[in-house]
Structures are given as C-alpha cells and as structure tokens.
C-alpha cells in the first residue's frame, strides 16, 4: 500500500467526519471578551482615581465636613478655627536661656 492508497481510502471515511470538517467553525478567541471587560475596568478605575484626587468634590459628611475653599479667603480666617503659632511663652522651655 502506498500513501496514495491511504488518500483514496480516506474518501470512504464516514460522512459525519466530512460534514464535521466542512462545517467546523474556529473557536472565538477569548481575547475578544477579555479586552472589552479589561477596558471597562480601566475606565472605572481611572474615573475613581481622578475623583479621589479632588476631595472638594466629595459630598459633605460627618467625617468630611470641611467646606470647599472659595475665592481668596484663607482657610484660617474663621474665628472658630483660629490657630496660634510660636506661642512659646506658655511653654516651660521658653524660660531657658544661655547667659
């Protein structure tokens, strides 16, 4: 028997095998599904990270009740939040000096 005999014999294989080979459709690559999902996640993550970099845009809540800065007003101008710096007189260490 020669290779040609096998080729001829192949003609007589079952019809279902011929039909299967003829109608076979290649599997769709999973990358087709992975790419859109990955792109969607990237967009969502980007949106959240941008939003987190702008705290003034966050809604007021008991944990975050600082009002947004508007105009040139200093954040320390309010009396309720008056700060005192270099108030060394009230400290013990202020009396220590070298003659």
């Amino acid at each position: 028997m020669k290779g040609n005999d096998l080729l001829k014999g192949l003609t007589y294989v079952d019809d279902s095998l011929v039909k299967e080979a003829e109608e076979h459709k290649p599997k769709k690559s999973p990358i087709r599904f992975v790419l859109p999902v990955a792109a969607s996640f990237a967009i969502i993550i980007a949106a959240f990270s941008i939003r987190s970099n702008y705290p003034n845009h966050l809604p007021l809540s008991p944990e975050n009740n600082i009002p947004p800065i508007v105009g040139n007003e200093s954040p320390h101008s309010g009396k309720d939040y008056e700060l005192y710096f270099n108030d060394a007189d009230s400290q013990t260490a202020a009396d220590i000096y070298i003659e």
């Binding site: 028997m1 020669k2 290779g3 040609n4 005999d5 096998l6 080729l7 001829k8 014999g9 192949l10 003609t11 007589y12 294989v13 079952d14 019809d15 279902s16 095998l17 011929v18 039909k19 299967e20 080979a21 003829e22 076979h24 290649p26 599997k27 690559s29």
Partner: protein, 184 residues
C-alpha cells in the same frame, strides 16, 4: 435551498436539482477538485461529472448528508482522473500528500492490496479516537487537500500548529495501522 429540498428535486427528476446543487455547492466542489487536480479544465470536467453521477445516484440513494455524498463522488472522480493523467507524469501536490501519508505505513517492504472501503473504515475508527481539532486539521489537509496555509487560515491557528498536529497524527496513524495489521 435546503439540502432536503434539493434531494426532493432529484427524486422528482427535476433538472433544477442540478442547478440548485451547483448554486449551493458548486464553488466548494470546484475548490476540492482543483485542490486535487491542480488543473482548471480537469477540475471543471470532474465537477460536471459529479453532477451527472449524483443525478444517476439519487434516486435510489437518499444521502443523509448531501454535501458529504457529492463531495465523495467528486473526490473519487478526481483521483480516477489523477491516476489516468499521472500514468506518465506525477503531480507535485498529490505526490507530496501521498508521500506524507506513506510515512504512516509501518512496513513498506510487504505488499498487499487493501480495498479502499476497508481502509476508509479503519481510518474512520482511527479519526474518531482523535480530538476534534486534530481530526478537523487532518481532514482538511488530506480529505479536502487544502494547503497548510489554508488550513491554518480557516481554523485561525498558526501554520506551525497545523504542521505539529499533522505530524503527531501521522505518528499515531502509523501506530494504529501497525496495531490493526495494516502493514504493507
């Protein structure tokens, strides 16, 4: 037109059956015939003979899978034409395919004749042991006589993967033929 309706036309002896067969499967038969013969004129003649043989075969036969039925007729005619034509000159493509499959024959020294049908049955059993992907690759390469590049394009895989699959399948086929005693 649906295969069953085409077959009904054959049973009604309506010549539209041939026209509808040509519309539905003419291009596929042309490709199959040309893949084997590599000659447009011979391929065209074999396809026309296929229509005639189909017309004569249906009825009484009623094929379950119409395309497999007519493509088998076409393939048979093509190899007959090839034998006739290659009496003096052998064609490169089929020689290549034959040589590839000849490597599957365990013992080339012993000569024996096997009926094509027996070989076909043995190959059917063997092919059913393969995975679907390997089976389809093998069938497209050796049944439809497609070039490796076409097989790879059709299945959306690389040519190297097709070559590897064919190589492994041939090794398995050789072992199978040896096991079945088909050693010639």
């Amino acid at each position: 037109m649906d295969d069953s309706k085409i077959i009904e036309l054959y049973f009604a002896r309506d010549e539209a059956a041939i026209r509808e067969t040509k519309i539905a499967y003419g291009k596929k038969l042309d490709n199959l015939s040309f893949s084997i013969l590599r000659n447009i004129e011979d391929a065209g003649e074999c396809v026309n003979d296929t229509y005639l043989k189909t017309w004569n075969a249906i009825p009484p036969q009623k094929p379950a899978c119409f395309y497999a039925f007519i493509s088998k007729i076409c393939r048979h005619l093509c190899f007959g034409r090839l034998d006739y034509r290659n009496a003096k000159k052998r064609k490169f493509e089929i020689v290549t395919l034959s040589d590839e499959l000849a490597n599957c024959i365990p013992d080339k020294l012993i000569q024996a004749e096997f009926e094509d049908k027996v070989i076909g049955d043995a190959l059917t059993v063997f092919l059913n042991t393969l995975s679907k992907d390997h089976r389809v690759i093998f069938m497209r390469r050796y049944w439809f006589c497609e070039p490796i590049s076409d097989v790879a394009n059709h299945l959306k895989v690389s040519e190297s993967k097709v070559k590897t699959s064919l190589h492994r399948t041939r090794i398995k086929l050789k072992a199978y033929l040896k096991k079945e005693g088909i050693s010639i």
